[in-house]
């Protein structure tokens, strides 16, 4: 710093090209000279010290000699002087090739006064123990240690301890295994070895905790250790690039592996063959985005008897793959294909014409223009054995397609997510036609559906187990109540009415006669299905009042099968409602309550995960501790409130 300031303040004369170059590269000739001089001085000083030390040893010896031969003073003096002079000469020679002659140097150190001092100190320190063993070896060790300390200073030249090359010592030069200095390449190698030895480093606690939270939200082991299978699967995935084959793993384990491969985004052309075995009958890949057209061909080539294909995000799935299915996959029964938008309309029709009759389930999602009403019409004609059908976000399907589906009376499971505007009469026609046979009915985003649709479900459907009707602001609470009142359908297992509510920014509480699933609807639903209901999703059903919740989940009425409840974004959920759910649902595993701001300080009983209730600075999910029974939890909450 000071150097630069000095340069700035100085008035400068004409420069040579070399000076300019050096200045531009931040090299100062003055500094180089200073450094050199300093090194020289240091080296000289050290030599001086050594010489003094040796000289003194010599005088000590001289004194001894004086004791013996006292009379021959003059001769003795002259002889010691001569000896000292001779020694000085050899010292100079030794200094010249000091590094190469370690032995000599050590011998020298042994004779020095400093060495004697240290030796004495060491002897003192060892006094407690048996010090008789103090021998030449210890001498040698001490001397060597002292020799090691005489390292080259930064800026000096030294020989590398490993490769023996000459190099310039810097403050960053590494120390070798025997205490000498190392040149840059050798130093790098040494640190690399060190690093690999220290490899199993602990991850920072923050990241670990985040991972744990993520696992919990995924529904993985909320408490206690993971299963051995889970541990192994995770290990396999981390070493996916070293695998040659997975061996004879059973299908469910393979599926689990495939899921985790997908999640870690390592499902690609290299790893796909691990999951292909001729004796399998299914390939399940939840994210096939990295797979190429050839990889799909390979699936059908390796597994000729394939029955079940799941390919999500199959962006590179093309007409040629369709022809391959038409040609080879004789046993195909279940097909799930998402986002396969390179398949043309002709491709779809070809597939349906040739393989339609044997298909039992077909699930398609995120399809564009080529998957048109015409294809669905062909489907209704050819797929006579289809019992399970799902079309979601297929954006060119219109009422024509819905009318075509009304012809497929064999369907047992139907899931539709609308993208076009589908009118109520069209939906009523569909439900009237195929409703009596349906076990699953899932209608998402049919925003034009009105009360008549719900009435039609009430009239036509008598076999439903799963009902989803979401994102609608037309149907009234009264219609939901009517649906569940005196409905001949057995109790439902799965109900999802999320986002059925009135949307009017100027009137957030909705009209007086509630729109969407509200008090009457909820009571009727729980009265009808409460006995068997396992999952209920009421997210954003914001017109359900506090009283209705307290009434339905009063702790006395029991819902023995209820495992999962979603109450997110319901403003009227409060602590009492949450506690009521805990008491009313003995089998409860998971309660999701994002955005329920009237809930605070809930003590969660054992075995339940409560997700979404924010507790300042704390985890977003709360897991019940082992010792907390429902009663204990209630007691704790009462105490906290008092």
């Amino acid at each position: 710093m000071s150097n630069r300031n000095r340069n700035l303040n100085r008035i400068r004369g004409p420069h040579s090209a070399l000076t300019d170059f050096l200045a531009a590269n931040n090299i100062s000739a003055g500094q180089i000279r200073d450094d050199y001089q300093r090194r020289l001085q240091q080296a000289q000083q050290r030599e001086e010290q050594e010489r003094i030390a040796n000289g003194e040893t010599a005088t000590v010896k001289e004194e001894d000699e004086e004791m013996v031969e006292a009379e021959d003073e003059i001769v003795a003096e002259s002889s010691t002087a001569a000896r000292a002079r001779g020694r000085r000469a050899t010292d100079d020679a030794a200094a010249a090739k000091k590094k190469a002659q370690e032995e000599k140097a050590i011998a020298k150190i042994k004779k020095s006064k400093e060495f004697a001092k240290r030796k004495a100190a060491k002897k003192l320190g060892d006094d407690d123990d048996e010090n008789d063993d103090y021998n030449d070896e210890d001498d040698d060790f001490l001397a060597r240690e002292m020799y090691k300390k005489a390292k080259a200073m930064p800026g000096q030249l030294d020989n590398c301890e490993i490769c023996n090359k000459r190099f310039t010592v810097t403050p960053y030069s590494k120390t070798g295994p025997d205490g000498g200095l190392l040149c840059t390449p050798c130093g790098k190698n040494i640190t690399k070895d060190d690093k690999s030895a220290k490899k199993p480093q602990k991850k920072p606690a923050g990241r670990k905790r985040r991972k744990l939270e993520s696992d919990k939200l995924d529904g993985l082991a909320s408490r206690g250790p993971k299963t051995l299978q889970q541990l192994c699967i995770e290990k396999v995935v981390t070493h996916h690039d070293e695998l040659d084959e997975l061996g004879d793993l059973p299908q469910p384990v393979l599926e689990r592996l495939s899921e985790i491969f997908t999640k870690k985004r390592v499902m690609n052309s290299q790893t796909l063959p691990l999951f292909l075995r001729p004796d399998l009958d299914a390939v399940i890949i939840h994210d096939a985005a990295y797979l190429e057209t050839e990889d799909y061909q390979q699936i059908f080539a390796v597994i000729p008897h394939i029955e079940n294909i799941v390919l999500k995000n199959a962006c590179q799935f093309k007409d040629e793959n369709i022809s391959y299915i038409v040609e080879k996959a004789n046993n195909l029964k279940h097909l799930k294909l998402y986002a396969a938008n390179l398949v043309s309309e002709e491709g779809w029709i070809q597939l349906i014409k040739s393989r339609g009759a044997q298909l039992e389930s077909l699930k398609l999602q995120w399809l564009d223009q080529p998957f048109s009403d015409i294809v669905v019409f062909q489907l209704s004609v050819f797929c006579k054995n289809l019992t399970r059908l799902k079309f979601k976000l297929c954006r060119s399907l219109t009422e024509v397609a819905i009318n075509a589906l009304a012809e497929m009376c064999q369907l047992e499971h139907l899931s539709l997510q609308a993208t076009a505007d589908i009118s109520s009469p069209c939906l009523i026609n569909l439900i009237k036609s195929i409703g009596p046979n349906l076990r699953t009915l899932s209608l998402e985003d049919f925003s034009f559906a009105d009360d008549e649709v719900l009435n039609q479900i009430h009239e036509s459907c008598t076999e439903l187990r799963k009902l989803r009707f979401t994102n609608n602001d037309n149907c009234t609470d009264a219609a939901y109540a009517t649906l569940f009142t005196n409905w001949p359908n057995p109790p439902l297992r799965f109900v999802d009415f999320n986002s059925t509510r009135d949307i009017d920014n100027s009137n957030p509480h909705g009209p007086a006669d509630a729109v969407g699933l509200a008090d009457k609807g909820l009571k009727a639903l729980m009265a009808h299905s409460g006995a068997k209901l396992e999952t209920v999703d009421l997210a954003s059903c914001r017109h359900i009042s506090k009283n209705a919740l307290h009434d339905v989940f009063d702790g006395v009425k029991q819902y023995p099968e209820l495992r999962e409840v979603n109450l997110s974004f319901m403003q009227n959920v409060d602590q009492l409602a949450i506690v009521g759910i805990f008491k009313s649902s003995p089998a409860l595993k998971k309660l999701i309550a994002f955005g329920c701001f009237n809930v605070e300080d809930v003590v969660v009983p054992a075995g339940i995960v409560l997700i979404g209730i924010p507790r300042a600075q704390d985890a977003i999910e709360q897991v019940g501790e082992g010792w907390v029974s429902v009663e204990n939890a209630l007691g704790a909450m009462v105490q906290a409130a008092a």
Binding site: R223, G224, P225, Q229, L231, C232, K235, V236, G247, L249
Partner: protein, 101 residues
């Protein structure tokens, strides 16, 4: 079957290694639990000895290690993962699937 259950049971690998583990830990595995259940009347239940013809000593040792690891961390939160050597994990995965742990 009036004889009380022993505290320890023996698990034997196909290459002859024997592991004596606590019964309470071993019955974590559904398969072993059923083998040792006196009500099912298998030989294993009488002799308190399970021979696994499809598991070798190295794998079975790791399985036993897992039994105790599980026992130790049964009710703990934030359990550290057990160390599994990569070369063993596929065989272990098969074993875990077979034993249902």
């Amino acid at each position: 079957m009036a004889t009380p259950l022993t505290e320890y049971v023996t698990l034997v690998s196909n290459d002859g290694f024997e592991f004596k583990v606590q019964r309470s830990s071993a019955i974590l595995s559904g398969a072993i639990k059923r083998m040792l259940d006196p009500n099912n009347g298998f030989t294993e239940a009488r002799t308190n000895r399970c021979v696994f013809e499809n598991l070798n000593g190295v794998v079975l040792e790791k399985v036993c290690e897992y039994f105790y690891y599980n026992e130790k961390h049964k009710d703990a939160k934030d359990v550290p993962d057990m160390e599994i050597p990569p070369e063993l994990c596929l065989e272990l995965l098969m074993a875990a699937d077979y034993l249902n742990v």
